[in-house]
């Protein structure tokens, strides 16, 4: 590691990314054998700052899986792919204002909120549909029980604060 310091420029970034990726990977490496369950890959990639869609995630998994899928992803395969993603700054997170506009598209009459049924309909029938679990979890935090609706501007603001 000391050697990395003496080199300049992009090599430092690569080394830094490697360490970050390793840290994230290890959190889910329960057996300490440099593998994680394939179902955790999405969590790992997303917690490293990326925001892929489900479709993009499936493609990524295909890239890092073994020839004969074992249900486990090895670190040796994951590292170069993930490093590339970070270097290319792929799957950037969504800025707050874009997110707001997305909600506004679903609320053409500009009420400032979506009814619970509307949110459920969009999230479970459009785009890359939520599972029931995902839907319930979103509702529990998003829906204001008195109005049975989500005031999306406030919702976004709350979620964003929580992140920082």
């Amino acid at each position: 590691m000391a050697d990395d310091k003496e080199r300049e420029g992009p090599d430092i970034t690569v080394a830094e990314f490697h360490k970050k990726i390793k840290d994230a990977f290890e959190v889910f490496d329960h057996e300490a054998n440099n593998t994680v369950d394939v179902r955790e890959i999405g969590t790992i990639i997303r917690s490293l700052g990326c925001c892929p869609s489900e479709g993009e995630l499936h493609d990524l998994i295909a890239e890092v899986e073994e020839e004969e899928p074992t249900g486990y992803i090895r670190f040796e395969k994951f590292l170069p792919v993930m490093t590339e993603i970070l270097l290319e700054r792929r799957y950037r997170p969504i800025p707050e204002d874009i997110l707001l506009r997305a909600f506004e598209v679903l609320d053409p009459s500009k009420r400032g909120f979506l009814l619970k049924e509307e949110l459920i309909k969009y999230m479970t029938e459009e785009g890359e549909p939520f599972s029931q679990e995902e839907m319930e979890e979103m509702l529990s935090a998003a829906i204001d029980p008195e109005s049975n609706s989500v005031h999306y501007k406030d919702y976004i603001a709350m979620m964003v604060i929580d992140e920082s």
Partner: protein, 680 residues
């Protein structure tokens, strides 16, 4: 293109497409948010676990050190000899008339204005039920009844075998509960949800009833009461916390002294004995083995059944008798076990051993499979060791002097004469053998691991990690179906491993923090199929969203972690400076992560945690001095204590408390001055 319908269609299609894309965007954003929450949850868990286990390591280190001192220190006078005896002797509970004196409760008068529960013996089921109810109403049992109950409990336990044998013929179902750790709410909840113990409803409580939580006394009272009332159906296994030395550190001793000021000492004395009489394991239908920690590749159920469990007063420290009085034999016994016994941690490590860090390994070291020292009871060449330890101690003293700015001692002092075999001659014939002690430590301290094999449990400092092949071999050898154990907190309150041959059951919900984990218990019917019931004994958590729950627990973990960081401020500063050769006052965030791990040895994913711990960085660099100052500001309260002193005291608070408690042998607290107020 002119027809109105097709334009409508066109717009409709566009709108639909927009809605589709908008929805996809929101989902994408949301999934990322949830993933990060998930990561935070895992990291939080790791923080709590690593701090918990590091604490256990500390205690082991402390006891190793004291044990060693005691084994090799020659008292200069009777006064010193008495002092040592008082501190460290695992005196057997005095027999006969002396026992009567200590168990004497009849002379204790219960005042007329006492409104708590009253017990009379022999206990009836109603008494036990009334006890639960009284404790639920926050009453306290009078010392007289406590002592009486403990006295009867001891009488009962003495007759029990080391391995309880239970059958599902008599009671239709058996409920097994794991660690409770003084959390009375969980016990009350279990009885509420599952029903009180009865001849038709058998219970096994798998150890660790005490320490950490605030109602350890009450839990013991309830468990012992039901055991006396339903001796055939109610069973208790000993856990690693049913141990007076462990209790000194983890809160039970403190709780007893606080609740029973006058008679606390008596209570603790008889408890020390009661704990040694607890059975070591329970076997259901000769098929399901229930024990607290786990097993090792050396576990021998026949030996465990035969040994005198009462001799194992504490798994923290032991004197063992020599086989045929020869050192050599003991060495051979050591070599036989596959988890080797290297030199104690505080001595310079011999080169013949596999390279191991001087300090006990962190979770990460365990994961890397490196071995390090574990509690060691056997002395090698005593004189040589004495000299080495003296040098070690001197080096440490010098370091402290240096830090304090005092002149450092020059040259090595000659080792003071030490009797070659400090423990020769004075051996009592009733000490356990090394092998017996080891067998018990293994079943009380071990943890399962995913890899095959069996290796020393460096994280805990005792017992081992056992793999699926060890489990399989044991089950086959004794014709068993599966193992139930506890000892480890699990987010869901339970966890299967080793192809469902090992079940961990943990019954203290919200163990680390409100919302941190569920508790669980398992029921076994005649078919012995496990049926798990989970719960979380706190209404508040049900109202919170997952996000809020995780945030709360996370905050708690981070607070604990920041406290640990603060406690190592000086070392951290030194380490940061190493990365700042040009003395700019800045280091990269990458260096920060490396430095922190090399000082704290917690094996945590620091780069994942960094955003929560460092918020004062710009463009990837950190002004480390002001970061450390910010840490200090958080910790310092209004008291005017010098921050470096505070830091040292903080770091050693647990150790200091334990030492104080050991020395303050009459537990009076008199003459002892606690510079920091301990937490309630």
């Amino acid at each position: 293109m002119g027809s109105g319908t097709s334009t409508q269609h066109h717009f409709a299609f566009q709108n639909a497409e927009k809605a589709f894309k908008a929805a996809a965007l929101i989902q994408r954003w949301y999934r990322r948010y949830m993933a990060r929450l998930e990561m935070r949850r895992h990291c939080t868990w790791r923080i709590f676990q690593s701090i918990e286990y590091a604490g256990q390591q500390d205690q082991v280190k402390l006891h190793d050190f004291f044990s060693y001192l005691v084994d090799h220190f020659t008292p200069n006078s009777n006064h010193e000899r008495d002092f040592l005896d008082r501190m460290f002797t695992e005196d057997r509970f005095p027999q006969g008339s002396e026992m009567e004196k200590f168990g004497d409760y009849e002379s204790i008068e219960v005042p007329d204005n006492y409104t708590g529960p009253r017990l009379s013996f022999p206990l009836l089921p109603d008494h036990a039920t009334a006890l639960v109810e009284a404790f639920r109403l926050k009453q306290q049992l009078h010392a007289r009844y406590v002592l009486n109950l403990l006295h009867e409990t001891r009488k009962h336990l003495i007759q029990l075998p080391n391995i309880n044998r239970v059958s599902t013929c008599y009671s239709e179902e058996i409920t097994v509960c794991g660690d409770l750790h003084g959390q009375l709410d969980d016990l009350i909840f279990i009885f509420h949800k599952n029903g009180l113990p009865s001849p038709e409803r058998a219970y096994v409580f798998n150890g660790d009833f005490v320490d950490r939580g605030k109602d350890s006394v009450e839990i013991l009272m309830v468990l012992f009461a039901f055991m006396l009332v339903y001796p055939k159906e109610f069973h208790l296994n000993r856990g690693n916390h049913e141990d007076h030395l462990v209790n000194l550190r983890y809160g039970f001793t403190k709780e007893v002294m606080h609740k029973y000021k006058t008679h606390g000492k008596k209570i603790l004395k008889i408890l020390k004995d009661v704990f040694c009489w607890l059975p070591l394991a329970t076997l259901v239908d000769e098929k399901v083995l229930i024990l607290h920690g786990g097993v090792s590749d050396m576990t021998d159920l026949e030996l465990l059944a035969k040994l005198d469990r009462h001799k194992i007063v504490s798994t923290m420290r032991h004197k063992t008798r020599k086989e045929n009085g020869k050192q050599v034999k003991k060495e051979e016994a050591n070599q036989k076990s596959s988890a080797g016994r290297p030199t104690p941690w505080f001595l310079p490590q011999s080169r013949s051993l596999p390279a191991s860090p001087l300090r006990l390994g962190s979770l990460q070291a365990h994961r890397a499979g490196r071995s390090s020292s574990i509690p060691c009871g056997a002395a090698r060449d005593a004189k040589e060791l004495a000299r080495q330890v003296r040098r070690s101690v001197d080096l440490e003293l010098d370091r402290c002097r240096q830090q304090a700015g005092l002149p450092v001692s020059r040259g090595e002092e000659e080792a003071s004469p030490c009797t070659p075999e400090a423990d020769s001659g004075a051996e009592e014939p009733l000490e356990p053998t090394q092998e017996e002690w080891r067998q018990v430590v293994d079943i009380l301290w071990s943890d399962p691991m995913a890899q095959e094999g069996c290796k020393a449990n460096t994280v805990r400092g005792g017992g081992c990690y056992f793999g699926p092949n060890v489990t399989e071999r044991l089950l086959q050898k004794y014709n068993l179906q599966f193992l139930i154990r506890s000892h480890e907190c699990k987010p869901e309150g339970y966890e299967f491993c080793h192809s469902r041959k090992v079940l961990t059951i943990f019954s203290a919900s919200n163990y680390y923090e409100v919302g941190s984990n569920r508790g669980a218990y398992v029921k076994l019917g005649p078919a012995l199929t496990p049926y798990i019931v989970q719960y979380q004994a706190n209404k508040v958590t049900h109202m919170l969203t997952m996000r809020q729950r995780i945030s709360r627990v996370e905050e708690s973990a981070l607070r604990a972690l920041r406290e640990k960081l603060f406690a190592h401020s000086s070392d951290l500063l030194g380490e940061f400076k190493k990365h700042d050769a040009d003395k700019t006052g800045l280091i990269t965030l990458s260096d920060w992560a490396e430095a922190v791990e090399s000082v704290l040895h917690l094996g945590l994913p620091w780069r994942m945690l960094r955003p929560q711990l460092v918020n004062s960085s710009t463009d990837n660099t950190l002004e480390y001095k002001s970061w450390l100052e910010d840490l200090a500001k958080e910790q310092l309260n209004r008291e005017n204590i010098q921050s470096s002193l505070l830091e040292t005291l903080y770091r050693n608070r647990s150790n200091l408390e334990t030492i104080f408690r050991i020395i303050d042998s009459d537990h009076s607290g008199k003459g002892m001055y606690y510079p920091i107020t301990s937490d309630p």
